[in-house]
Subunit: 118 residues, 2 copies
Amino acid sequence: MNDKLDIQTHVDKLSTEMRRGLTVLVVMSQLNEPEYAYSLLKKLEEKGFEISQDALYPLMRKLDEQGYLNSDWKVDESRPRRYYQLSSLGEAVYNALKAEWKEQFEQVIHIIYQENEK
Amino acid sequence: MNDKLDIQTHVDKLSTEMRRGLTVLVVMSQLNEPEYAYSLLKKLEEKGFEISQDALYPLMRKLDEQGYLNSDWKVDESRPRRYYQLSSLGEAVYNALKAEWKEQFEQVIHIIYQENEK
């Protein structure tokens, strides 16, 4: 039962949960310049951050609705595309979230690597 | 609308989501020695990792059910307490998850701090 395959299955599930928590941060980090949903998907893929269309597209709409993004249709290309970019609120939220993330991971490093100390 | 208070409210919500993804990792990191639920809660609190009883206790039962923990009642103290400690499966999962987490944060550092590069 407890063979390597088994362990990997357990870890995959847990690490997906960890990754999910980072998605907003990662997506926002790429939107200091205009991107349409598919270009952003490809950009993230190239950088090794896996996210499905089914997860990314609703997230972009949600971030847009919350006022973190400005969005505009561009119709001068082969087909109309909606471009998204951080709004000024989005930029402020992103910068604060980045600082928060940094604090969290420093804390976790501290907790994990001092796990045996009292 | 977009004042500092507003931004903090936005960030709090998002950073809670980030933190949630780390909870299993952090909890497991403390269970290489036996802890009962309340002692673990206090230990995490001391190390600055905020988690409520309502979140921690069901999580420990879940980890126990999944076979990541061994648990035992100790009745020789002022009152009976259930002690939890990583099982050998739990240890293997924790070590793999720790490696995964390290990979994820290195990836995020890379993505965030090269955000303007093509």
